[in-house]
């Protein structure tokens, strides 16, 4: 439980950070809130030679909701996101999901960038961000690169980031029509638990407010990485809310068909599926009803 010695640097800007990280290659780690990394170092699951703290790069913590592109700095903490008034209006599903992460203390340190980069299949910010079609802006010594979140995860705990590449910010396009979203998380206690199944349902109406222009379903803890359920989404897109409400049971089956959860000490695969189906129904019901209500 003691951490092995390593070299520590607090980078003063982005360039310095990526420079330092790329020098050490795979032996270096970026440090954000540390709630995953420090624990992993205590468990000797990762033994970095060098740790580069990003916390001095204040611009990386900014949240900008002014334009059509909502920009969330990778260092924004879950507490900051959950309490952000504009985000609560535009993408409540994200605020709601991150407010369920860990404890208050954890949320005060833990960042959204760290949550994504740690790449837990059950990461609570991932399912809603997938459903919001988020794009990651990454930086490395060779420049910036935009990566759609949908192609970011490559396995449990793995991403396509290469050493020296960090997430700078997360971009979400402001929904054009009226939208609504809901995230439901299966926990074994009422608070402070990792998700055994997370279901994000986000829907957007066309400008006329009649048909579902966009439906997105993000799932956490249901596959080796957070995933979308495109077939299920397709079944609802283009329908009116009333029509969609009727189709919920069959869509729910399609959602489950997209998943491949595991059995572990936290939950069995069968139970995860069962609850994911029920959660999908509940989330879809709530979202579609609220869109109908106008």
């Amino acid at each position: 439980m003691r951490i092995k010695p390593f070299e520590y640097h607090a980078a003063s800007d982005l360039r310095e950070a990526v420079q330092m990280l790329s020098e050490e290659g795979a032996d270096a780690r970026a440090l954000a809130g540390g709630t995953d990394l420090v624990l992993a170092m205590k468990h000797k699951a990762v033994l970095p030679k060098k740790v580069v703290s990003l916390h001095r790069i204040t611009e990386m913590a900014a949240i900008n909701t002014e334009g059509d592109e909502i920009k969330i700095g990778a260092l924004a903490t879950h507490s900051e996101l959950a309490a952000h008034l504009e985000l609560q209006k535009v993408v409540p599903i994200l605020c709601q999901a991150v407010s369920l992460i860990g404890s208050w203390q954890i949320r005060n340190s833990a960042t959204i960038g760290g949550n994504l980069a740690h790449a837990s299949p059950a990461a609570d910010s991932a399912a809603p961000l997938l459903a919001l079609d988020a794009t990651l802006v990454t930086t490395s010594p060779s420049g910036d690169e935009n990566i759609p979140l949908a192609s970011f995860f490559s396995g449990p705990g793995a991403t396509i980031l290469h050493p020296g590449q960090i997430i700078k910010e997360i971009i979400i396009l402001r929904p054009q029509g009226r939208s609504s979203g809901r995230y439901l998380k299966l926990m074994r206690k009422r608070a402070v638990d990792l998700s055994q199944a997370g279901v994000a349902f986000q829907a957007e109406l066309d400008p006329a407010g009649e048909k579902l222009a966009k439906v997105a379903i993000g799932l956490g803890g249901m596959a080796p990485t957070p995933i979308r359920a495109p077939e299920a989404e397709g079944m609802l897109e283009g329908l009116s809310c009333a029509e969609a409400l009727k189709k919920i049971p069959s869509v729910a089956r399609a959602v489950v068909a997209a998943t491949s959860p595991i059995d572990d000490i936290r939950a069995s695969a069968a139970y995860r599926k069962l609850v994911a189906e029920a959660f999908f129904k509940q989330a879809a019901q709530e979202v579609l009803t609220s869109l109908t209500a106008g």
């Binding site: 010695p5 440090l31 420090v38 624990l39 703290s53 208050w104 203390q105 954890i106 608070a191």
Partner: protein
């Protein structure tokens, strides 16, 4: 090996050389002799190490020592201002203290909550404290203590 940090702990500026592989909790307990914050797990999972860092409760066992550079830290030792803090009084009077091992962390979170929201509901109190485990009290008297403290602070303000 060791690197210099400067930070403020309970209002006092501190300049120290710390090992990067130590945590803020180690620094408080071993370097500064502030033994109020406890190590119940060292994994961010019990809350006994909770301190206020730049106004927010955090798990000091998960914060690398050098990250504390430039920060403002308040530990349970820094709450009493000549006399015990109203939260400390309320905890004692309401019977919210049994073994007391969770108490310093619990009180730090509770104080941070009232700083953020002066009249939290019972549900909000329970939610805020859910990262602080207590195995002795069943939380009932802890929640009461926070409510009593909130009321007293309100009354004092009103008076």
């Amino acid at each position: 090996m060791k690197i210099p940090i400067e930070f403020v702990v309970n209002g006092e500026p501190q300049a120290l050389f710390v090992k990067p592989n130590h945590t803020l909790l180690d620094v408080l307990r071993d370097d500064l002799g502030l033994l109020g914050a406890k190590k119940g797990c060292g994994e961010g999972k019990c809350g006994t190490c909770t301190v206020i860092m730049d106004g927010k409760p955090v798990n000091s066992c998960l914060i690398l020592a050098p990250r504390a550079d430039g920060s403002d830290i308040i530990t349970v030792e820094g709450l009493a201002d000549g006399e015990p803090h109203p939260m400390q009084k309320a905890f004692v009077e309401q019977g919210a203290v049994q073994c007391g091992f969770c108490t310093p962390g619990m009180i730090m979170t509770a104080c941070a909550l009232l700083d953020e929201k002066s009249d939290p509901s019972e549900e909000e109190i329970r939610l805020a404290l859910s990262g602080n485990l207590c195995r002795c009290t069943g939380y009932a008297k802890i929640v009461e203590a926070v409510q009593v403290c909130a009321q007293r602070i309100q009354q004092d303000k009103g008076a």
